[in-house]
Amino acid sequence: MSEPLAHSDTPDDDVIRLTGVNRTFDSDPPVHALRDVDLAVRRGEHLSIVGPSGSGKSTLLNTLGLLDRPSSGAYWLDGVETATLTDRQRTSLRGSRIGFVFQAFHLLPYRTVEENVMLAEIYRKTRPGRDRRSRAKRARAALDRVGLSQRHGFRPDRLSGGERQRVAIARALMSDPALLLCDEPTGNLDSENTFSVLELFDELCAQGMTLVVITHDEAVSRRANRRVRISDGQLSQEIV
């Protein structure tokens, strides 16, 4: 527990750096969901955050995903200090640097698997080599990475839970993010499907993807190369 949670030696290599982050909700009574959180995640790292329900895991993930602002403290994402960004800037930073994987999958039921994956790219200016015409091809490649390229024309309701989550992961990969944020990605899955998703995480990690996986499941967190525990809004390091 003495080792610092933030690495200060090579800040440029940090995809995430939180220092002294607090988040309070002005509800009645006020909730102090994050308390003085310091956290750094290196590029290519697979970090898991474990903690019981209500400990602040989702609040932390929403903060990391720029879906929520910390009440105080500093957050550097991929070298950009986010506290001073406007709403629009945070939105586009979120779209370009972060891939989300949610417990509830959040696939659009009325679109095909491929269209769901392509959705990740429409809110950004086209970049060189990533024009609209080749978008379907890139979606297939992303589906290929999660082993679902033959399912591209299906609607999500014809897929198993594990397949749906893999589609969601393909969508997150589509925008070529610096960071994959997963909030209880296996929370809705049975053990078999959980296993397939975890295998996929291992593969992605081996390919150099930075992963932050939030879970209350010890079995899931054991896959990570680093684990931190959150309880009552406070982080503590766990040695694996």
Partner: protein, 452 residues
């Protein structure tokens, strides 16, 4: 208590979008926000793009949103279909009817002027009010195209007329017909056609020839079809050679059952001398003026004794028709449109509420508030446009059908055909404003809690 005194507070940015989680933001110091904001932007924007969406993608997203619930979308268009349809029908039928009325006036009434000459008082030797050569004065009036004088009298309105060759022996081919005298310009004046033979000319008149032209109905009654073998008709003890048959009367249709004689012959043989009517055809728009001038031209000293029959003023008639038809139905159409707009707003709002999870997802994928609002605005506009197109199409079908039934020429303004769908789209756009604002105001964190 760290969170109470943040140092690098993000500002209510110049961007119109409200800050995320704004209701949960602690109070921030108000001082010196501008300089800090600018420097922060310079640092922060390094490597940060602005949200952007290709219009084709926006359109594709909106369209798939509309098509995801096809039945609902179709039902939602109904109000707009009704509203736009009513407006198109109202305006279309009104202008078609107005055109029709005006068209009828144009063809017949609008250019027809009739001067009625009263019969002279009995047993007086005064000169007739209008004599045959005097009718030529009308032709010299500006705007007169053709004219003809006509003499009719009660004595000659029902004569027993017989054809010479009795085709079926034993059948009396005697008919009760009117005998009239007319100027040689009569065919043009009644806009009729010489069906057979010829009309008499000034030579026939000058020679007092005993010739006659039959109206087509009179010829049929008398069993005369051809004039090559010079058939004759008999009445008042005289015989007249039939030289032609006149048909296709557009005015003075009763002449089709009459025997028409040259004025000189008529005076000699049946005592028909006084001009009783002068038929005038004017160019378009000249009728009113000709109607005023004709009596003076015909009878300079007793113009007041003549009666003039002239068409009503056209411009007033046209306006009257359009005004009558439009008023009520326009209101009806506009009410339907408002109802349609409320329907679209309502359904779009329901759709937004059902798709909260989707909105959260789109925000997580990098959609800005404006892009979310834009999607729902595009969806409601699409529904309105669809309603406008269907309504305009249905309306035009109705206008064309009504025209076909009434034997009218449909008048469909291109501005109406193009404007109606645009009006539908505008209705959809306006209806989408509130739901789109609601969608864009959703906080991503809250929205993501809803199932997608």
């Amino acid at each position: 208590m760290k969170f109470r005194h943040r140092t690098a507070a993000p500002e209510p940015d110049p961007d119109p979008e409200p800050a995320e989680s704004s209701q949960e933001q602690p109070n921030r110091p108000e001082r010196s926000r501008r300089p800090r904001q600018r420097s922060a932007e310079r640092r922060g924007t390094k490597g940060v793009e602005r949200p952007w969406i290709d219009p084709r993608d926006l359109w594709a997203e909106a369209l798939s949103g509309v098509l995801a619930r096809p039945v609902r979308s179709a039902l939602t268009t109904l109000g707009t279909v009704l509203g736009i349809g009513t407006l198109v029908i109202t305006i279309g039928v009104a202008s078609t009817a107005a055109n029709q009325i005006v068209g009828r006036f144009d063809a017949l009434t609008a250019t027809s002027v009739t001067v009625v000459v009263p019969p002279p008082p009995p047993s007086s030797d005064t000169a007739p009010l209008v004599d045959w050569p005097g009718v030529d004065a009308v032709d010299r009036l500006a705007g007169v195209e053709t004219s003809a004088a006509l003499a009719e009298s009660d004595d000659t309105s029902a004569l027993q007329v017989r054809a010479n060759d009795v085709i079926t022996p034993g059948v009396l081919s005697s008919q009760t017909l009117a005998v009239v005298a007319a100027s040689p310009s009569l065919p043009a004046a009644v806009r009729g056609d010489i069906l057979v033979g010829r009309f008499y000319d000034t030579g026939d008149i000058a020679r007092h020839d005993r010739v006659a032209v039959l109206g087509d109905q009179a010829a049929r009654l008398l069993g005369i079809k051809e004039v090559d073998d010079a058939p004759a008709v008999f009445f008042n003890g005289h015989s007249f050679t039939v030289i032609g048959i006149l048909g296709g009367f557009k005015r003075e249709q009763r002449l089709s059952t009459s025997v028409i004689l040259p004025p000189t012959t008529a005076k000699d043989r049946v005592g028909l001398d006084e001009v009783s009517r002068v038929l005038v055809n004017t160019s378009l728009g000249a009728a009113q003026q000709v109607a005023r001038q004709a009596p003076v031209a015909l009878a300079p000293n007793s113009a007041g004794a003549l009666t003039v029959l002239s068409p009503p003023d056209l411009s007033k008639a046209r306006k009257g028709v359009q005004g009558d038809v439009n008023g009520l139905f326009l209101v009806l159409g506009l009410v339907s449109l408002i109802v349609g707009a409320i329907g679209i707003a309502n359904v779009t709002l329901v759709t937004v509420m059902e798709r909260v999870g989707e909105i959260g997802l789109r925000r997580a994928l990098g959609a800005s508030r404006r892009q979310v609002a834009g999607q729902f605005l595009t969806e409601s506009t699409t529904i309105g446009l669809l309603g406008g197109v269907i309504g305009a199409a249905l309306g035009m079908v109705v206008v064309v059908s009504v025209s076909a039934i009434r034997d009218w020429t449909p008048v469909l303004d291109a501005r109406l055909a193009l404007g109606a769908p645009v009006a539908g789209a505008v209705v959809g756009l306006l209806a989408g404003v509130y739901p789109a604002l609601r969608a864009s105001r959703l906080e991503p964190v809250e929205a993501l809690r809803a199932p997608s």
